[in-house]
Structures are given as C-alpha cells and as structure tokens.
Symmetry: C2
C-alpha cells in the first residue's frame, strides 16, 4: 500500500512538474519573443493552463494521497517526505480558491504584464493602475480564502521565504537602516572619481561576447542552458538541464549588462547544480527566493566585485574593448564597479544603496496589505520614500513605480527576499572562506572551486532542505544580519 | 439544452486549443532554442502534454456532447457544425488508442526528433534507425486501433489531405511523371548559363535584412508574428495573432534563404488572415496540408518566380548586395531563380524536379505501409529511386534519407500534400488571373491586392470549409492537375 502511494505521488509529481514546465515556457516566450498582437490568445492559454494545473492538483484523490503520506511520514525516505510536505503546503495554499477565480487570476496576470510593458514604455501609470488594483484586490481575496491567522502580508512573505515574517523583516531592516543610512550620507563627503569613460559607446555585439565569455568563466553549462535578451533580465528554469537567462544591453553602459549577466548566471548555476537524481520534480528547483537571490548576489557582488576576480579577467575585457578601455587601469575599473551613489533604478543600484530600494518596496507593500489605499496615491508615496531614504526623487513613472515587473505579475511579498539574499550571501561568503582561500581562487580565475563549494553546501539540495536548514548546513549557524552589515561597513565606511 | 451544449463545445474547444497551443510552443522551442541537454525532461513533458490532451478529450462526457451535436447537426450554425464535425473526426482517430501508448508515442517523437538532428549532423543513419523503426511500428499499431477499412496508408493520407487516397495520388503522380520526366531529361539539351555569381559569399546579416524586407513587401504582419532561424525552415501558428516562421541562411547561397523565407511567409499569411471572429479554436488554422502548401508554393513559385515581381524588388536586392551583385542584371537574376536541374535536397529543388522528390517519398511510404520492410534497406531504396527518377545518387545519408525531419516526427502521409500544394497553386493562380491583372499587380509590387484576393477566396475560411469546398469556392471547379502540368510545360518546355 505505501509503495503504491509513493508511486502515485511520483506520477503526480511528474504531471504537475510538466504543467509547471509548460507554464514556465509560456512565461519565457511571453517575455522574450511572443508577438504583441497575440496577447489575448496567450492570456486565454495561461488561464487554461492554470485551470488544468488546478484541476490536476486540487481534488479528492490528491487530498487522500497527501493525507495518507502525511500519516505515514516517518516511514518515508527524505525525498518522498519532502515532496509530500511541499505539495501539502501548496495544496493548502490554493485549495480553497474557486477554480474559475484561480484561472481568471492567471489571465489577469498575463494581461497585466503586457499592460505594464506598454505603460512603462509610455510612462503612463494610469493605463496600468486598473490592472494593479485588480491584482491587489484578488490577492487580498485569496488571502481571505487561505484563512491563515495573523497579518495577510505574512502569508505572502511565507510563499517566497518560508520562516520569514514581518516581525523578522522589521528587525532586519531596522538594523540595516541604522548602519546604511549614515554610510549613504557619508558618500557625499568622499572624493569623486571621473567614471564617464564607462558611459561611452560600447558596441552591443562586443558586450554580448563579454557576457558569454563571463558565463563560461563562471562555469555555466551552455549545453544545459541558453542566454538571450529581454527588457528585464531574469532566469527561468524549465528543468535543471534547460536553464535560461536573459540580460539587457545598453550602448552607453558597459557595467549594466556585465553585472546583470553575472547576477542571472548565479541564479542559473544554482538550478544547474541540483542533484540530477531528483528528476523532473517539485524538489528540483531552488528552495526559496531568498536563497536563490543569495546565489545571484554572491556572484554579482561578493565574488565578482572583488578586485581579485578581475586580475585575470580585466585584461580580456580590455582586449575586447581595446579602444574604449584604452588607458583604463585595473584600479579605475575596480573603483567603477564598486562605486556607490544613490540612484532611482533598483536593478542598477550598487550594493550599499540597494537594500534601501527594497526597504521602500517593503514599506509600501506592508501599507497596501494593511490598509485600503488608493492606487493612484502610490506613485507619490513611492517618490516621497525615495526622497526620504535616498535623497532623490523620480521625475516620471518609468523610473519610479513602473520600473519593476513584479507587481504586474502579482509578486507581492517577493521583494524582501532580494535584501535577504544579499545578507545570506555575506554569511555564505564568510563560511566559504573557512574552507577555501577565496582571494587566491579568484585571482587564479578558478571558478570551478567556488561552484563546487556552492554545489556541495547549497545547490545540490534544490528544495530538499528548508532555507533555515540550508543556512545551518552551509554555515553552521542560524541566519545573522551581522555578516552583511560588517561586509558593507568594511567596504563603504 | 442545445444552447448549453454549444456553450460546452466552445469551452471544450478553448481548452483543447489551449493545450495544442502549449504543445506547439514546446515544439517551437524544441526546434529553435531549447537546450540539447534538456531532451529527457522535454520529452517527458511532451508525453504528459499528450496525456493531458487525451484525457481532456477522450472521455464519456465529450463523447456524449459530440453525439448530441451530431444528432442536432441541422440546428447548428455553420461554425458550430464544423467545429463538432472536426472534433468528431479527431475523436474517432484517437479514441481507441490506450492513453499510455498515446503519450509514449509523443515522448518517442520528441526523442526521435533529437536523435534525427544528431544523426543528420553526423551522417549516421544507424543511430536514427531504431527510432524510425519504433515510429513506424507504432503508427501501424495505431492504424489497427482506428480500424478504418482499406489500406492503412489511406488513413494516414486522410489525416493530412481529407479526400485524397492512394488511388487519387497514383493517378496524379502518373500524369506528372508522364509530363515531367521528359522535361527533366530535356534539361540536358538546354544551353547552360553560368550562375556561380550567386554562390559567392553573401553576408548573413544582409541576407537577414533581405528576408525581413521581403516579408514586409508580402504584407506579413510583424506585430502578429516573428521570424528566426532553425535547421529546417518551418511555420508554426500559436494563434492567428502569433504566427512564427523560421528560415536558414547559407553564406554561399543567396537564393536559398530568400525563397525559404517567401515560402514560409506564404504559410504564415494563410494563418494571419483567418477570420478573426473564430477566436482560439480548432477552425482557426489552415484546413489541410495540401491547401497550406498551395499558399506557400503560390508565393514561392507562381508569384515571386515571376519576373514581374522583381522589376521593383531586384533593385532593392542590388542595393543591399551592392558589390556581390555588381554587373548582375534582371535577366540573369530571373534565369537563376528559374533554373531547373536535378538535385538531391528536396527543400532546395526547383519547381520542375520538386514533384519527383515527393514521388520518391510517396513510393517509399506506400512500400513501408504495405509490407514489412527492413529499415536498414531504406537508404539504398532511397538512393536507387533518386538514380531512377533524377539520374543522381546521394553519396551520404545526410543528403539522402536523413535530409527531412518528417519521418522523425512521425509525419507519414504528409509528403504528398507538398506536390498537391504545387498543383493547387497553379489552379488558384489561374482563377486569380480571372479577377485581377496579376502581372501588372506584381510589376507594381502591390502585394496587398494578392493578399486580399487570397484572404477573400481561401485564407479567411481557416478550417471552416473542406479542401474540396475551398477549391470549388475559389476556382469554380474541382481540382484538376492539368493547370499544374500546363504551368510546368509553359515554363520548362
């Protein structure tokens, strides 16, 4: 009987994972090459796919299966136990939502994404506002169906970073504010270096060459992945053997695409390194947004903003941009890539000011899910907070509230994991340095050593362990923000 | 009651069309950018998608719905009647196949495609043979389940060109042989023109520019479609508003990509012009492979191999390839694009020899589905027939039996529609010339006039009418091979 039920679970796992694969492919396609004119059909299909997922998952047969497995938890091996645990959690999350509302919501997100794209391009918040309003309304309704105790925003946070609540985040952000705000203020007193050389014209094909070269250096497996461009860089794993990233090239900004590519490569490596034996399964993906972001941030900041990394790699860069970087030395390069300065766009922000961008979104999301706020007030609230924390104010919607895709996709509760990711990364770096001589490894460009450490301590688990367990396994300690604060102070004080 | 059942049909139609959309997207992705390393997961997903389609379609509820609608056929409007008719046909086609075998077959095709790609690249028939054998065996088994009367190959033909049987094709190909074989033999006696100028180096980016320009000229709607490259050019319609084509650029062959692009654009226009009101539905797609191919052939041959078309377009081509085409005049260009000569590769063949490539495949397919043939004998049979009909013999598998993807995808019975397409095209051209002054229209580069005629007489119907009905509506006559034979004789005698 138990064996039969385990087989049933694995069959279900394969089916649901296949539907998610197709949903991911729809998303990938929608955000890369899909025709603008096809948005209606595409959102219909997204809705049907959600309905198919819902009906394949939320039914009495699956319910009995999960109940049975939970009753026999102690007889299951670790993999089966974890699969059942994750599906149970997911089941409880959506079971009480009527299927029509669930699939309507998928259609809404698909249309909302398209509306956001147009709105951002036209700097027109008003055309996007009705979608945002509907998404927030629907999410609040869904939170009601779930019937969790406590604040509804906590339930959203739990979706992206299990174990993290508003209480945890309030404390985390308070500590950060305390240390970062003075550091940011202090930036004004530092001597300025002329970095305009990095904003001259950089040929896009050459930038592409640099991106692909760096992906190779970082050990991205090109046979099990792919890179292209999109408006907003992202990583998408169809499977551990087909992990796709996008980047974005700006002709007058060399650093942007380089660090976007490295960031997404960090995400991609996590997915590519998951234990092959897990197959196509719900455990074959990164365990949480925070842990995922820790991997991208680790590569983007802790590893490749370290000057050692460029000892070998900067000459290659100069070779590709022979004329453009003529006269630029390693010292100036390292200054440029570690330059901190308040700015309006989150994805372009430096390590120091980045958490403040997240803090702003966190405070707005708390507000949105605590009170009935007027959507049309949001752009002003957004701008006010930028003025308060960063001393600058967006002059239009596109560089303000319309800059991020997340809310258009219904991803509320997601942003905080970005700041957590940076903090986790600092703690992981600290642990890694106990095992390997990181500066020498970076100077030798031996990124396989780093990839192996990460695979062994973090990546291979996929979702087999919880974020809290992974932190403990990899570092021997619980999560502690002090590593990140020390890192920032060391670097920017 | 009737209204409720019609609503049910429309809901079913939307669901099944959505699943097909996702299957098409999987295929598109697999043939363009998907990672080689992800083939196992991809074929698992393809299998699950087939199973989902099967289970959503083949069940008692759908059976009763279709039975009910068929009983009330005379009370239905044309659209609903046709939807029900097409679904009934599709139902009968697969209902008797056990679902596991159906989804296993989808997985097999997905793996077989990947195996074919590698085999073709490595010129290694033996690595592909086991897949081909399994596909043929499975198809024979499936034909058995269907239990049609008569020859199993007739059932396959019916899938791609309803109304066309071996008897029809035998007669059609006999007539063609009678007229073409002497014309091909006669080619040897014609004076040869030196066309080597068209095989010098043509920059790929410039070829891409030419392709995109021609798509615009032919009125392809770029907002509702997309073009990229793949090993084997093809067209894929996710929906009428998202129609994708691929082409293939060879550095030393300018004509290849130009006419591939035009060919696929012909397919794409058919899909883009289907009546918008049909929505996401089983009738919103070309009605048969033969009618589809008639549209691509019409554009590729009847329209753009007409010298009038190039009066306006050749100067543009010379502008893009200023140095390469220096000294080439319109006369030489027209000779080059209408040059006929026996060759090994079907997709590169000229209009005259093309039907012989199809004849060879037709004869082999008849043989495969009539007798128990040894797969390993096929390459020799293939080569022998090329020698017999075209007087040339492939020297390796890649330019012989491995050149086409169709068999790797299980598409047996498909090839004949290519030759039928050419013949339909000639008949459509004849009818079009009664309504519009085609040569003047071409000379004026007014391709919207052509597109409008085709939309009005053929495209708009999608699958609402049968191929036989469309032929009658568009030309006032039944299909007659004489138009094609006259066309070829006029051109090549």
């Amino acid at each position: 009987m138990l064996n039969k039920q385990i087989k049933k679970l694995n069959k279900l796992d394969e089916k649901l994972s296949s539907i998610k694969y197709m949903q991911a492919l729809l998303e990938w396609d929608g955000e890369t090459i899909a025709s603008k004119g096809g948005v209606n059909e595409r959102s219909l299909v997204a809705g049907e796919a959600s309905e198919i997922f819902f009906n394949s998952f939320i039914n009495d047969e699956v319910k009995s299966l999960l109940d049975y497995l939970n009753e026999h938890k102690n007889e299951l091996n670790e993999i089966t136990k974890r699969k059942a645990e994750l599906y149970t959690k997911e089941y409880e999350k959506i079971a009480k939502i009527p299927v029509e509302e669930y699939s309507e919501y998928a259609k809404l997100c698909s249309k909302s994404y398209a509306a956001w794209e147009v709105a951002k391009e036209n700097n027109d918040f008003s055309s996007f506002a009705p979608y945002l309003e509907k998404i927030i309304k629907t999410l609040k309704k869904f939170m009601g169906y779930r019937g969790n105790e406590g604040h509804p925003y906590n339930a959203l946070l739990e979706d992206y970073e299990p174990g993290v609540t508003m209480e945890v985040l309030d404390e985390f952000f308070d500590k950060l504010k305390e240390s970062i705000v003075p550091l940011v203020k202090n930036l004004q007193n530092k001597p300025k270096t002329d970095l305009s050389v990095f904003n001259q014209k950089f040929d896009l094909d050459k930038q592409d060459k640099v991106s692909k070269h760096l992906m190779d250096i970082l050990t991205f497996d090109q046979k099990r992945g792919y890179m292209t461009t999109s408006a907003h860089p992202f990583t998408l794993n169809l499977s551990r053997n087909d992990v796709r990233i996008t980047t974005h090239y700006y002709e007058n900004d060399l650093l942007s695409s380089i660090f976007s590519t490295i960031h997404e490569t960090g995400h991609a490596l996590y997915e590519q390194h998951i234990n092959e034996e897990f197959g196509l399964s719900n455990i074959t993906t990164g365990v949480s947004m925070g842990i995922h972001e820790s991997q991208s941030r680790l590569y983007e900041n802790n590893l490749t903003r370290n000057s050692k990394f460029w000892e070998n790699n900067f000459p290659k860069l100069k070779e590709i941009f022979k004329e453009e970087l003529d006269g630029v030395d390693l010292e100036l390069w390292n200054k440029a890539i570690n330059n901190a300065k308040p700015s309006l766009i989150r994805t372009e922000a430096d390590e120091l000011t980045y958490p403040l961008h997240i803090l702003i979104r966190y405070e707005l999301e708390k507000e949105i899910f605590s009170n009935d706020i007027d959507i049309n007030e949001l752009p002003k609230l957004w701008a006010d907070k930028y003025e308060e924390y960063l001393g600058i104010r967006p002059e239009n919607f596109s560089e303000g509230i319309l800059q991020d895709v997340h809310w258009a996709d219904g991803l509320f509760g997601y942003f905080p994991s970005y700041a957590l990711g940076s903090a986790y990364a600092a703690q992981f770096e600290n642990a890694m340095r106990k095992d390997i001589d990181l500066d020498t490894v970076l100077a030798n460009n031996d990124m396989q050593v780093v990839a192996d450490w990460l695979t062994d301590h973090i990546h291979k688990y996929g979702s087999l362990k919880t974020p809290v367990e992974i932190m403990k396994l990899a570092t021997g300690e619980k999560f502690d923000a002090k590593y990140f604060i020390e890192y920032l102070e060391r670097k920017f004080a």
